[in-house]
């Protein structure tokens, strides 16, 4: 014979009760996994193109090479995606480490704030440069510029 209690005297409401807004910890957890997978593709693609695909490897990377890449919308978007994901992934990881090791609330707030500011500055600067980069500055030595500058 099974016994059931119709209305159990249970006085332990969840600590999350009454908490509003999105669950940022969950979003962060999923972001870390998803961005990790995408970053593996982006970073190894970046390395393979720059070092293996291009003849000359690391020695061939100069202003002309980078300028040429940043004039191509495909590589602009590749680099910008990589920048955003890597900085967000890295700074969220840093935030976790700070949460683990910094126990004093004030220092913790300052440290996490500094990480946030650094991430924002890097993302804004990086995005700005990627899309506004001029590969053919005037009055530069033509030998150092990408090939297509000569036809301008």
């Amino acid at each position: 014979m099974s016994t059931t209690i119709e209305s159990p005297n249970y006085a332990y409401p969840a600590r999350s009760k009454g908490r509003r807004g999105p669950n940022l910890e969950k979003a962060g957890w999923i972001f870390m996994r998803a961005s990790g997978v995408v970053l593996v593709v982006l970073i190894f693609g970046h390395l393979a193109y720059n070092l293996l695909w291009t003849p000359g490897g690391i020695r061939a990377i100069d202003f002309g090479f980078v300028g040429g890449k940043l004039a191509d919308p495909f590589w602009q978007w590749w680099d910008v995606t990589m920048l955003w994901l890597a900085i967000l992934h890295g700074s969220n990881g840093m935030r976790t480490i700070v949460n683990d090791y910094v126990h004093k609330p004030k220092i913790r707030t300052v440290a996490i704030g500094a990480i946030g500011v650094a991430a924002a500055v890097l993302i804004i600067l990086g995005t700005l440069i990627t899309f506004t980069f001029d590969p053919c500055p005037t009055a530069a030595d033509p030998a150092l510029l990408p090939e297509f500058c000569a036809s301008l």
């Binding site: 014979m1 099974s2 059931t4 159990p8 249970y10 332990y12 409401p13 969840a14 600590r15 999350s16 908490r19 669950n23 940022l24 910890e25 969950k26 962060g28 957890w29 999923i30 976790t96 949460n99 683990d100 090791y101 126990h103």
Partner: protein, 307 residues
């Protein structure tokens, strides 16, 4: 579909299978085992007497006793983190030298300290056999049950450090306040919630029972939760033990409140704080795959409960 059919077959065929489980072969094996045991006992026992005709004849016959090996004791140094809230401002490390035997446990060393050297030493223990979960403590930096930590598994050329589990308020010596830990446990509603009222029992197939078998083994010793670095810095985090006990009901086919528990744990302080450090799995004295259970709860939140 195929799986559910199989489950039905399982439940129906369970008794039949038990009947046809070839009892004859089992009986044979049992007989063989007993005869073999008896023979070896006869031939090897040094104290078994040769048959004699009368009691008088046997009276003054020299008895050949097998030599008894006296187990050797050795000295083990324990350094215990003592704290008496009425005297100490800060916990302090105190050395004790204890005579121990190969077969003994850290709990025996603590007993010897308390009973023979310093009766003021305070620690919890109840069953002393790894079932009640009272004597979880941090021994040489790892959470274990003192009653399951054998002295022979430690390097006794060095002292053994014993301290209270971390992350819960220290009360005295090796005793911590377990209430915050139990609060988390109570919050996840650790009881079966089913609306129907069956005639006799709530049926379950072997496979359905197997699904959550691992997490039924928890003894609430708090070794896992107090080994978790997230819990150390954020006491609000539910902790592995609460999630393990939620897992035990979430994946129980008879329970109807899985979603309620998932909602409770789908919180800022819930399963998403877990970063798979694996300290909990290492610490569990019952060998529960704690990190795996937490991962399954996460998975259930994203894609639904797969029983």
């Amino acid at each position: 579909m195929a799986e559910s059919e199989q489950k039905n077959e399982n439940s129906a065929g369970f008794e039949r299978e038990a009947e046809t489980g070839d009892p004859a072969a089992q009986a044979d094996a049992a007989v063989e085992a007993t005869t073999a045991d008896a023979e070896s006992a006869m031939s090897s026992s040094g104290t078994s007497a040769a048959p004699v005709d009368s009691a008088a004849e046997a009276a003054d016959r020299p008895v050949e006793a097998a030599p008894v090996e006296v187990p050797e004791s050795f000295t083990v140094t324990l350094i215990v983190r003592r704290y008496d809230p009425e005297v100490d401002d800060e916990p302090r490390w105190v050395d004790y030298d204890v005579q121990m035997y190969q077969t003994e446990r850290i709990l025996d060393a603590l007993h010897r300290i308390k009973w023979e050297q310093d009766p003021s030493l305070a620690f919890r223990r109840s069953c002393a056999h790894g079932v009640c979960g009272s004597d979880a403590m941090r021994i040489n930096g790892k959470n274990r049950l003192a009653c399951k930590a054998l002295v022979k598994d430690f390097d006794i050329s060095k002292p053994i450090y014993v301290e209270a589990i971390k992350g819960l308020p220290l009360e005295k010596d090796l005793i911590v306040d377990m209430e915050p830990f139990f609060d988390s446990f109570r919050e996840i509603q650790p009881f079966l919630q089913a609306s129907g009222k069956p005639e006799k029992e709530r049926h379950q197939t072997i496979a359905q029972r197997e699904r959550f078998d691992d997490t039924t083994k928890c003894i609430l010793c708090a070794a896992c939760t107090t080994s978790c670095p997230v819990f150390w810095t954020d006491g609000q985090y539910f902790g592995p033990a609460a999630i393990v006990n939620a897992h035990r009901f979430i994946f129980d086919s008879r329970d109807e409140a899985s979603q309620v528990r998932l909602d409770i744990l789908n919180d800022r302080e819930g399963v998403w704080r877990c970063r798979t450090t694996f300290n909990c799995t290492d610490a569990c004295p019952r060998g529960i795959q704690v990190t795996k259970a937490i991962a399954e709860v996460k998975q259930a939140m994203l894609t639904g409960v797969k029983l």
